[in-house]
Symmetry: C2
Subunit: 425 residues, 2 copies
């Protein structure tokens, strides 16, 4: 069954030719990086389907929901509280930021020395190839880093419905106050946009749906500690990536089923790689679809990625929101409490993160950490340097990679990654 989505994309204002090019590239990369691999769990078929329809059926669902009166909120960051969005019966989707597009045009607006993720957001908008972006009733930016904070001032000219959320930089009482105020403001904005009054029950339901998604991702991560590892790091990353796009309830159910299968695999000692394959913990910047460069290189070089210390990974779902509270404001405080624990590099100091990396190394029995930063991402790059020193002091293995979305450095990266894996094997 092939559905013709061209009219839908046209209606959304996409550049059909450029978009076709994107889909073809994405399809080829997906075939090469995912579908061609042996021994994947059967449950990945669900993810393969979702990915094959990521700009098709999922967009149709969003547009159908919009026709039924629901609102679509696009976001770039895990600080945007899905609890609040779901409470208003709205839909939160992560926006496309994982590939280079229209770089020449982007670099007329932003400095060359801007990270790929930010440039990508502009590139997708300028070249009109992101149906999520075009379908969104509100796009939420957040002040997590200088690059985003200052570039949103330009993005607003391209995306009039851009809403910017401020974020604290310190985990102090004043910082917490700021985040609470921002989440209150966001709640009111979502209420206004959706026309839905967010009641206690609605917000509890939003918290429950969001927590359930986090729980299944936590369950998945625990299964990755088995030896042999029952699922590749690439497939696990894909699941994390899809968690930003898919319907949360359906996603939770599907991944729970996949986890059942992984448990069977573990019992039968079936792995995607041989037992005792060197285990890598990936740490650092988020990887949005289709940014599979580094894990793909790692898993082609004889190691397996067992965890992602990243927003598209454990940072995104480590903490649950307590549904404790009898008023909307009390629940909001619980939500703030939860997000205030996120160990994003926006915070100074951010010592929790180093502790989490060490914990994850132990839990996943990682043989080494590969720290991945996008070039010019000062917060994560600067944090990686003392992290490397201290991990090395403790006898750990640490490889620091700075890269972008281009493929120019793949040969060089492969050499470095292979050498690192040889050391830790």
């Amino acid at each position: 069954m092939t559905v013709d989505y061209q009219p839908m994309w046209q209606e959304l204002g996409l550049d059909l030719q450029a978009h076709d090019g994107l889909l073809q590239g994405l399809g080829a990369a997906y075939q090469d990086i995912f579908l061609s691999r042996k021994n994947r769990p059967r449950g990945m078929a669900y993810l393969d389907f979702v990915m094959s329809e990521v700009h098709g059926l999922r967009i149709k669902e969003l547009l159908d929901a919009k026709k039924a009166g629901r609102k679509v909120i696009g976001a770039f960051c895990v600080f945007v509280p899905e609890e609040i969005v779901l409470a208003a019966d709205a839909i939160l989707v992560g926006l496309c930021t994982g590939a280079d597009f229209a770089m020449e045009e982007v670099e007329k607006i932003l400095p060359r020395n801007t990270c790929s993720l930010i440039k990508s957001a502009f590139g997708f908008k300028l070249s009109k190839v992101c149906p999520f972006l075009e379908a969104a009733d509100m796009v939420v930016g957040e002040n997590t880093c200088d690059g985003k904070k200052k570039s949103y001032e330009q993005l607003r000219e391209l995306i009039p419905n851009l809403y910017v959320m401020d974020l604290p930089q310190q985990k102090t009482e004043d910082g917490r106050h700021l985040l609470l105020q921002e989440y209150r403001r966001f709640l009111r904005a979502i209420e206004k946009l959706s026309g839905v009054e967010i009641t206690v029950d609605r917000l509890r339901r939003g918290i429950e749906l969001t927590n359930n998604k986090r729980r299944v991702l936590q369950r998945l991560s625990r299964l990755r500690t088995a030896n042999p590892v029952p699922i590749s790091g690439l497939d696990a990353l894909l699941i994390n990536q899809v968690s930003f796009y898919d319907d949360p309830q359906r996603f939770t159910e599907s991944i729970n089923k996949l986890c059942d299968e992984l448990e069977e695999r573990i019992q039968q000692k079936i792995g995607v790689f041989p037992a005792d394959t060197p285990k890598i913990l990936l740490s650092g910047c988020p990887m949005a679809v289709p940014n599979w460069k580094i894990p793909s290189l790692i898993e082609r070089s004889g190691a397996v990625v067992v965890g992602e210390e990243s927003c598209v990974g454990e940072r995104g779902w480590r903490n649950l929101t307590a549904a404790a509270g009898n008023t909307v404001d009390e629940l909001l405080e619980a939500i703030v409490e939860r997000y205030f624990q996120v160990d994003c590099a926006v915070f100074t100091p951010n010592s929790d993160r180093e502790r989490h990396v060490a914990e994850m190394c132990r839990e996943y029995q990682a043989d080494g950490v590969i720290h991945y930063s996008l070039q010019f991402c000062q917060p994560y790059i600067i944090e990686s340097m003392p992290m490397e020193r201290r991990l090395n002091d403790q006898g750990g293995n640490f490889l620091r990679i700075e890269t972008d979305y281009s493929m120019e450095d793949v040969g060089q990266l492969q050499t470095r990654i292979e050498a690192f894996i040889e050391i830790i094997s």
Copy 2:
């Protein structure tokens, strides 16, 4: 009279050999860039003296003050309120960040892609050549950008008495609340350090002294609108730079005298450059001693710098603090009100800045704007791009320069600056 400061520097823990090298380099640059120039105002002799004694007599004064029980506070940023420091009879000094030092060591701690100013702060500390830093009882950092915010986490290991001030990112009520809380916290920290209770009268006096310094810099800037220009941009920049080091009262008196002389010059139509020399407004990142690279290139290429839209310039003293209030907290709110007007790129949006640049162009009758950013300073570089577009749209002339503290790009910069001056002449 030559005083031997070696014992003093030794006692401060300076690396005498490296420090001698620094002073020699500084002396040679000063001779070349300042002393060799013709037709400077007589009043610049005061600045020449201050500069010749910047690591000598001024440090002795600080140490004498410390012996008398006063405290020395070092700072990197104009958001550190001198009003509060002076109210406690303490002394605020700007810290050395204008030259490369120990880069190899610095780049073991910080990424290469960090701006020169931040690297410089680390370099001066690591190579033990900044007597201001070593004399400081407290060093104040502030969360103005990702580079500073995250690198202070490392600097704390080198400077145990580092105090970090958080800053708001938005000019909202919540942002104002955060700044007020931070200034309250700073006031208490200064009280504790100095043992001085900051009373209303003391704080009024601090405001007055600080305002007086700002007023004389405002007076100086107005005199630079004359044609021919009575003082070079380099000398004016030097005055701005020295305003961060010198005793505020003595500085104010000396610069007022210099301004008297400039008024005479204007009456007699005496300029440092011929009448109708092309006028440049410098805009962007601060220039700390001895960072004279760009204005030196401009003024050797047949133009004169008439204003600095910079923290070491108009952004630093444009706004006065109202001494309005009958309690310390009311005065603190007036101080917050004043600093909240600063058009630093930490704020988003920061539209005041573009308006100020346009205003300054008109007031100083600038023929062109040269926007100076340190490489990797994302806030100012990103802001410069829409600024360039809009200024160009209005028929203005705009040259965007990204550079660092090295001299490697001087030839290339000279070519670009000469070409720009030719266009606007």
